[in-house]
Symmetry: D3
Subunit: 283 residues, 6 copies
């Protein structure tokens, strides 16, 4: 009859019983333009009650699966290395318990840690990366670990031909040149997934969604809005195509709720998460 | 030279002379998530002066027709039954005077009353329902009459095969199952109207537009934004297709202006109303 | 290390061990002007982490006391009577367990239930009422139970000379005339508390704070802002004066967070609650 | 039962029967910093329903008097001279009908016209001017008629020793030097009214209130917020002191509602107008 | 190491060395609905640092060209004629120095001056006009020179068959009739450019972009949002098609940043300007 | 006639000629609650044109003095130590050139560097600290250098009895205990300055103003609003009292402009800076 355990909707199963474990990583310490993603996880939980647990797109209902939202990590903002370590440890623990992890950001840098942890368990991991920005800089404002370098840091351990990027529409010339040699770079939209799908079925997959891949009209609440992005229908088509894949970990990052008073960004973020959780539950 | 009779633009004809009577029903008493639709009618009137009376889509001008905006009903918020009765009586009066009614909401529950009144005059009525949400629950939060049950309540008296739903992208599994048996459910967009148009020409039509059928990017100012909706171009194409129908009543509901400081939601709502009024004037 | 039990700061003691029990009553069903107080309790919990547990005004620290925040009641919005009953039952339970209750609103109507419950335990109860509005109407928009009638409804069972009103600056002429005969009406500010303090020491006290007693400059986030109110320094002086009283129940209502994007209203509300909880802990 | 004649609250008497006539002058063509006061009159009418008709400060009720709100002038924005002429003609007409005028701005320049019209009827007129800014420049951005020069233009016809300025806290050095010789300049607050009150009783009075005289904390919704202003309590004390004066015309200008999403500026503006209308009704 | 010369990104070359000169014309004196475009130029400069200098659409980098942003003209708001003259003189100077001009508005009226200046240098000039509104009125609110008449005023000197309008979706019936005879009017979107491209290659081109041609979902921050507009992808396709043309002058107008707190309108505006500057640099 | 060198108003003198040098330090890397102060300096420059150069409080005009605003340091956000070093070096340079420095923050941590630099030149320096928060923690979230520890770090080198704190109303119990022994702690308001003024005349003074010392009603645009603060009139009285002191350096920090859409926080900040600059110019 009363409740102040706040979980993402329909993610209140016991940890032991659950197949997918959700946690938040509210860190935005390297954000260069407009900070605020640290506020995303509690807002996503709160707003998730504005949508239904049933997806008419997938004809699946979250109530039919077991998800456990274990809350946010209590990260020491001032210590980036320590933050990344804590996220890494959390993901390790989830994987060791035989479960899949789903993380709410925070800025995109936080994705480094779960991808690393998942990679260590699944050495032939492939990463699907949706984003407006290439995130392939060698360093950014004198920092090696930054929201603008995170996929480059992932490449450091994954190596060539393992990263599939979609929706990218912003970067330096150098980043696009780097991508040409080292990643599968698919610019502007998500349509090119078709050509990779058969190949990707052979590998475990991590999918990292920088929500700014969506057009700012759909998703104004983010630090660096980049016009010309994808829409939610296109994204759901994309998800339907990858639902046969073996997705072992995922995240959705870069919601900065204070920049959108209308709340449509949060509404989109929670719908994206619902669909991603269902697609991950498919197998 | 001076004026504080505020009407929707070009709706200042005398009641007697007018073919279509506009009124507001500023009620939001059952809104579960973010209330505020009660403020919509005065905002729509005010904002309507930002657009033209001429529609380049339809090549029709509101100045060439007779519309009378008779203002808002003075509804007692605390008494839902009384509110619904007053709206019903108002619509009856308009119909008895041989005119068509057009209502500004308020939340979607208010549509119950004019549909009922119109149905009593036209027993073979068909209802076209545009919405993000199915609104087909048997009850909602222990209430039978609610914004989330309104089309189910309409079905109670209309019966099977009379309700044509478009754009629906949210609901419980049960609602979609109910629709499969009892209504014409068309999910996600408006394109399927083509297959019904010949049949619909045979009947009087009421059209109820829950404005949240539009994507939140176009229409952030609403209580329960549901990403993945239609856009205004698609809607105008839809209107062009139905302009041969005999539309005897209509409404546009669920604008909640306080949630959109930019005013684009109100701008869209008034454009939608302009086009609907012109399409209703077609015959 | 991780957490999604969200309580008001320093209110995470076990229920059994705690002297004061906090709960939320997120109801705004009768709000006539600008609804939204239903969102207040989770916002207050979230924002409470922006202030310290230590009060330099009272030289007291919340960490030195036992408070338990048991979350929000899950109220059926559509059913006002049922909502009031549920709040009443919750307060009864807390009182029966030998504890004091502190409630977050919601609109002011919710105060009816805990005052009733506390009165039944303490028949010689006195009520201190801080508010911009008299709330003494016999009925409002045809409703007997409303945010604008709540203190009149409390008077129905408490009777004459039991209600002490402060900061009142809005009402109908009739309300002020009623007050003259039946309550202690103190207009515009809080200074007159001095003359009642000795008398009030003899009785158990319930204090209900409609946060719109504060000037809208300090507290813009409310449904019916009424300029000319008190400030936080004046309020803290007031609290210091009543800290010798035997306060057995309390509430703080009418924060409507969506009307204040800057967050200063929530910041004030949580500071008010901290000070009230400490003053209630004084004995 | 229905209504779209929108008047300021309790200002719906017939013109003929009314003692005070209210009209709006929605012009902001010379605003240099943040325009938007043109939207003030309809917002003030709408928001006036959030407060009561009874003033506990003055123990007077608007319902006991006859006010007529005749709406807004339909001003051609591009033609400043024509706008000023239309406002002048409107005021003339009201005065010729033996009534007092009360105008809602618009920017402060609009006050020029009613003061001129009132002066022509009452050649020994005194003007009480409340404002943050001196408005005494000889010209502003090459314009003689501007919101920043309006009181200087009034001085052009009124001459020395007729203008009483209060609350002024911003201006060029030259303006303050001009004031020293030609007006009664009272800086920072309203307290100095006491020394003039006996003298002012001998003359007909026009009172022009630039609402930015209030501190921006109380009144953020204005074009050029100037910290350090007066509060509403101080203003009401001021009004009580001048209620014996023979106020023959008045205005309240410079509300720019789009700059204040919380609505507290509009709430203050309508309360100010209520009190001013009651004080003008005193005799 | 330190800097308060603020230029549009990558537009800090010396004037002499630069091929394209950027300047701002912050005037909004005739805006009828929601003013504020005067604030656009500094916001565009500031926000330009949120995007990259490299365009993946055109595979061109601003760093490879010479642009000089010479700041804003210091316009006397009150004197429209003088403002237009100053803008005209500035453009003349740029043209006389053998350079191309690019102007940030301000409201659309400011485009009159550079088009006139460019026309005087290139008498066979063609104008490409992107806009939601036809801007072809003979006069507006009694004014001949206004944001709503600007293209008609351009027609006055250019004459028939020289103006190519795209994206137009609002106007009076008379404006559309005028266009039929005197301009190339292309309604609703930008697709019809294909049929003109070969012809246009023969002439010098001025392109004036009223940013409200974009749908309000992408560009809420404007004075008169008109639903049903183009999106950024469509616009970039359009630019790619015209990149062979000899564009000798351009502008982007009608950003009103205060109406969009999320900042997506500014983000779109700066991306549009980047792409336009690169396309102008093509030859 | 054109300009894109943006300086704080009236701070456009040459460096060499100027007595006071203004620069910005847009760093907010350790902000724990709501980041955004990095945006303050450009906003303060822009907004400064909304107020006059003349102070009626001090009867002084900025135009009569020489100030040079040299712009913002280009700080590498990710490297806190490097940022602090750069600010330190900048201040050193200004002091070496025989001038006084005035810094715009950024978060409060940035004050560490100029205070250190000034202290090294003036070893008997006293620091006047206005703030809502004590900022005396030994460490915060595992960081020694943080906005919440900055005054403690200043104490590290200044030692006991050199820091005069005013307006403090928030902190841990430990911070207040520390203050009792090591600083002059004056809680809640600024009135106690009188008792120190004679003593302070003997020493060079640095004044650091955390703008959150103002009540959130006056200054909502800050990261951690703390109700119960000072107002601008009180602050100006304070300044008048200290104008005889030998102020050799100063700063104003913690404006976070994105949290205040009305702009009143920026308006207050620029007025505060004007008055501080004038008081520093007094000798």
């Amino acid at each position: 009859m009363r409740n102040n355990v706040v979980t993402f909707m329909a993610c209140d199963s016991e940890y032991e019983k659950s197949d997918i474990i959700i946690f938040g990583a509210p860190f935005d310490g390297t954000t260069s333009f407009r900070p605020g993603t640290r506020f995303a996880p509690p807002v996503m939980r709160q707003e998730s009650y504005g949508i239904e647990t049933y997806s008419p797109y997938l004809n699946m209902d979250m109530e039919d699966y077991y998800f456990s939202d274990i809350g946010d990590l209590d990260l020491p903002f001032g210590n980036k290395t320590r933050c990344l370590d804590m996220i890494y440890e959390q993901t390790k623990e989830i994987l060791n318990d035989g479960k899949k992890s789903f993380m709410f950001g925070g800025e995109h840098l936080v994705s480094y840690s779960p991808i690393k942890a998942v990679y260590e368990k699944y050495p032939d991991l492939r990463v699907i990366h949706l984003d407006a920005h290439a995130d392939l800089r060698e360093d950014y404002m004198e920092e090696e670990f930054s929201h603008a370098t995170v996929i480059r840091r992932v490449w450091d351990f994954l190596g060539d031909g393992r990263i599939y990027q979609f929706g990218i529409r912003s970067g330096t010339k150098e980043e696009f040149e780097f991508a040409e040699e080292h990643t599968y770079m698919n610019m502007f939209d998500l349509s090119q997934i078709d050509e990779y799908i058969e190949e990707l079925k052979k590998f475990p997959i991590y999918i990292t969604v920088d929500l700014d891949v969506f057009d700012p009209s759909f998703f104004p609440g983010t630090g660096t809005p980049e016009p010309g992005g994808v829409d939610i229908k296109e994204f759901i088509e994309f998800l339907k195509k990858i639902k046969e894949l073996n997705i072992v970990g995922a995240d959705a990052v870069e919601l900065s709720p204070h920049y959108d008073h209308s709340g449509i960004s949060s509404a989109l973020a929670v719908k994206v998460v619902r669909e991603m959780l269902l697609v991950m539950s498919n197998k």
